[in-house]
Amino acid sequence: MTGEFLCVYTVYMNKHRWITLSQSDPRALYLQVIEQIRRRVAVGDLPPGTELPSIRQLAADLSVSVITIKRAYLELERDGTITTRQGKGSVVAEKPGLSTAITQRELESHLNAAAQLGSLLGLSKTEMQRRMAEACENLQRKQK
């Protein structure tokens, strides 16, 4: 647990932004924050129990207003992605079930879209499977 905690904070110290906010993205900034935190939780970069930075600290690091982060954390608490403990900040919730469900839905829609594109390109099922395997291997290689 401490290992992960240190990991998240080392990322901050290096300013490797694992949340990147886009000015040109028409969606409100707080929505971007919510989505990116949900995604990190879903893929396991933020395991359950990881301490999230305080609202003020995250606002300072991302150069956005405090109310933006407050709102994002409020939403994330409401949908169960994070838990806020009185006076002790927020942590990633122990029950990743909900976020997994969200990511499952996302995966479904991505796979459907990929299937459609594949058929537009005239790729066969085998070809699509090969491409999928290739993508997984690339990801594994990158994660090493």
């Binding site: 300072a60 690091d61 150069s63 207003s65 109310i67």
Partner: protein, 307 residues
């Protein structure tokens, strides 16, 4: 037996102006009521000449108002008192350093006046901002000069920052460096920022509370998200003789043939229905960017004033 209930804890005000007014030869600042809550980032937006700089200078005690009270960090402000300035960092677009002297000279000069100076942080900022201690101010570019001034402010760890157009004329890289450094202050809830700009994008990004100023008066003041949520631009198609229903805060903006564009400053569910009922066909109802809200608010304020 009744139990006396203590009033809710009032948030500490980092600064408060009440009924402040000042007349100049060609400009008048009129009845300004402004309160800055501690721990917040406050944006002051206004066109050029609206009075932003005047308000900030009055807050610093550099200008004396004709009427009204000014209190900053709990102390009344006047030109006689220097005490409050120890905890305030003021930046103004037209502030200049001594051209013939070096950055290091200014660091040493300011340091000698502030017991709370953080030398380690100052050195960090020097390298972060890409400034050279031995360089004369004369040789600095505009962006470097701004960063140097901000360094001199930030290294004192002020409780309140009053910044008059700090990002004016900065290239995008410098702007990011400056904003990101300023936002570090936000992580401390006892420190407050008030800054003015006519760049609404900056303000939209980092402010908690926003105040609009035009022609010496406060036009509107609200929490940033409230602004963005309450304003709408509504486009309808309506015949020539159509009159907009009397909905609070609804104003016509423009007309083009059958197309009517209106703005609304306090959105409530059901507005679109009422418009439909009044005989107009709804085309769209969209949120507005802060810049659009600002322009609309200013225009309304000017129209109201002319009546």
């Amino acid at each position: 037996m009744s139990i006396a209930i203590a009033p809710p804890h009032t948030k500490t005000a980092a600064a408060a102006l009440r009924g402040v007014a000042r007349t100049f030869k060609h400009f008048r600042l009129d009845n300004i009521d402004l309160e800055i809550e501690q721990g917040t980032v406050n944006g002051l937006i206004g066109p050029n000449g609206a009075g932003k700089s005047t308000i900030m200078r009055i807050m610093m005690g550099l200008l004396t108002p004709d009427t009204g009270t000014v209190s900053v960090l709990g102390q009344p402000i006047s030109s006689r008192e220097a005490g409050a300035k120890r905890d305030i960092g003021f930046f103004s677009d037209d502030m200049r350093l001594y051209k013939s002297e070096t950055v290091a000279f200014h660091l040493q000069f300011v340091r000698s006046l502030f017991p709370g100076w953080d030398e380690a942080y100052a050195q960090q900022l020097l390298s972060r901002f890409g400034l050279i201690a031995g360089q004369k101010v004369r040789g600095l570019s505009h962006g470097q000069r701004v960063k140097c001034l901000l360094l001199l402010i930030l290294a004192r760890r002020p409780k309140l920052l009053i910044l008059d157009e700090p990002t004016n004329g900065l290239d995008p890289v410098a702007r990011q460096e400056v904003l990101s450094e300023l936002m570090q202050i936000v992580s401390d809830e006892t420190r407050t920022i008030l800054y003015s700009s006519h760049n609404t994008q900056d303000v939209e990004q980092i402010s908690d509370t926003i105040t609009f100023i035009d022609r010496g008066r406060v036009i509107a003041r609200n929490n940033r998200d409230e602004f963005l949520e309450r304003w709408r631009r509504i486009r309808v198609q309506a015949p020539a003789n159509w009159q907009a229903p009397a909905i609070a805060g609804l104003r016509p903006e423009s007309t083009f043939g059958n197309l009517r564009v209106l703005t609304l400053d306090r959105y409530q569910a059901g507005v679109e229905d009422r418009l439909q009922l009044s005989g107009a066909t709804l085309e769209s109802s969209e949120t507005m960017s802060l810049e659009e809200i600002f322009v609309a608010a200013v225009m309304r304020g000017r129209e109201e004033n002319e009546l």
